[in-house]
Structures are given as C-alpha cells and as structure tokens.
Amino acid sequence: MSIAYSVILFDSTHDAIRAEKVLKKELPVTLMPVPRQFSASCGISLRFATELRPQVEDLLQQNNIPGRIEALIS
C-alpha cells in the first residue's frame, strides 16, 4: 500500500472555492468531489500531490482558510 495523493476537505463550499483560487496560483491542485470514504464535509475537495503538503498547509494558514488534509491510500 502506498499513499496515492492527498485531499483537503472543507466544511464550507465557499472555503473550498476560495482555497482553489488561492492555491492554484502557486501549486497544481485539482478540484474533485470529496472521496466517498469522507462523507462529512461540503462535497468539494482539492486534490494535490502528497509531497506538497507543507506548502499547502502554509498557504491555507496564511489565508485563514480552515481545511482538513487527508491522505488517500491505494
């Protein structure tokens, strides 16, 4: 088993859309539906390569966007 990629989950759709705008300027992220195994969140998530996690966390913090990061295993 290995980590396939990571996603950011949000409570609010507005946070998800704002995070996409902010992160997209700096990093490759892809908007995707929240993976089925994480039911509790707003439905929109952002997919990114796991090695970018530190930059992603920094950008979310700098812009005051609350989001939870989960790694997906394949």
């Binding site: 759709t13 998800a16 859309i17 996409e20 892809t30 908007l31 995707m32 539906p33 929109i44």
Partner: protein, 202 residues
C-alpha cells in the same frame, strides 16, 4: 516485433491501443485480446489502416499479427472502425451533450466548480461515454479552462470522441484556440446523438 497486450480491456480500448502504435509508426505488430468482438474490431481498424491481419488462438485469447501492406490508410474507414468499436462499450453507448460552461443555473462560480468536478469524476470512471459533444458556451470548456481541458484530454486519451461545434467556436472568435477535441458540425453531432443509447445533457 512489438506486442500490444489488450487482454482484459473493454472495447474500444484494444482498438485505441492498436491505433496508437500504428500512429507512432509501427509497420508490424502483434495485438493480443481476449474476446472475438475485439478481434473483429481490431481487424477492421487494421484493414482500414492498410495492414494485413493474421489471427491465431492463444492461451487465454487471440493473437492478431498486423503487417503493413504499404498502402495509404482509408481515413473514413478508420473513423468508422473507431466509432463502431465505441458502440460496444459496457452499458451500451452513451453521449454527453454540454451546451453551457457551468452546471445548472444559479451562482456561476459554483456552477463552474461543479463542471470541473463532473469531468474529473467522469475521467476517473470505468464506464465512459462514447462521445462528448460541446456546443454554445460548452465549447469554452475545451478552449480556456485549464482544468476541464486536462480532464477532457484524459477522456480523449481513453478513447472518448470529443466533438466541438465549429460554428460556436467561430461565433465566439475561438476557432484558433481549441486545445482538445475535434472541430465538428451539426451533422456529425446529431449522428452521434442518434447512435447513442442515451444522451445526457448538461
């Protein structure tokens, strides 16, 4: 000689894999498939592309040996071979018609996010449409939206035919800027709808 292993692949994938090798310049290749329909589809494509075909049974399927006979490919026959291979996709053939650049009415930003997620999810799915048909604002998904362009490219690479309304590109002044898909017209778009078991409109 290059061997293409297309066993276990649903149609039209064996045809797409074969065409990729031939397009890349292969003059001789072997294609292995696991069902007679795939034998038929690959043979039809190979013949259209001016290859001689020899078929033999092997353990777990069939091996087709394709040898170029040097003649030019018959482009129309190639197109027909691909369309016919697409018809036997699991669940029948279906098409997606997109007439807008957002999903639903309401907030445009939300609608645009939903559209990106739709094509991401579709591109990851095992049951792919035969065709995606873009008209009016829908053509912009293949022109100026990097996310949908990427997902559409993935779908095209997997064998989905993407037809983009040329009249619409022209109207919006985007004819030179199409990033993915084939410029098409009302006749072809209508014929794909008529051939599909179902058409999903967005």
């Amino acid at each position: 000689m290059k061997i293409v292993d297309a066993k276990g692949k649903n149609c039209p994938i064996p045809v797409v894999m074969t065409k990729k090798e031939i397009d890349a310049g292969a003059k001789e290749l072997m294609v292995e498939v696991d069902n007679p329909i795939a034998v038929q589809n690959v043979s039809r494509l190979a013949t259209a592309m001016s290859f001689d075909v020899a078929t033999e049974e092997i353990d777990g399927g069939f091996r087709l040996t394709l040898t170029s006979n040097g003649a030019a490919a018959d482009d129309n026959a190639v197109k027909e071979a691909i369309v016919s291979a697409q018809q036997c996709a699991p669940g029948g053939s279906w098409a997606v018609f997109v007439g807008r650049d957002v999903i639903g009415s309401g907030d445009r930003e939300l609608g645009s996010s939903l559209m990106k997620m739709f094509f991401y999810t579709l591109s990851e799915s095992d049951d792919l449409p035969t065709n995606i048909l873009l008209m009016n604002d829908g053509v912009k998904l293949a022109v100026n939206n990097p996310d949908t362009i990427e997902h559409l490219q993935t779908l095209v690479n997997k064998g989905v035919e993407l037809l983009v309304c040329g009249t619409c590109l022209n109207f919006y002044g985007l004819s030179e800027e199409l990033k993915v898909g084939t410029v098409s017209n009302m006749y072809d778009i209508l014929s794909r709808m008529q051939a599909a078991t179902k058409v999903i409109s967005l």
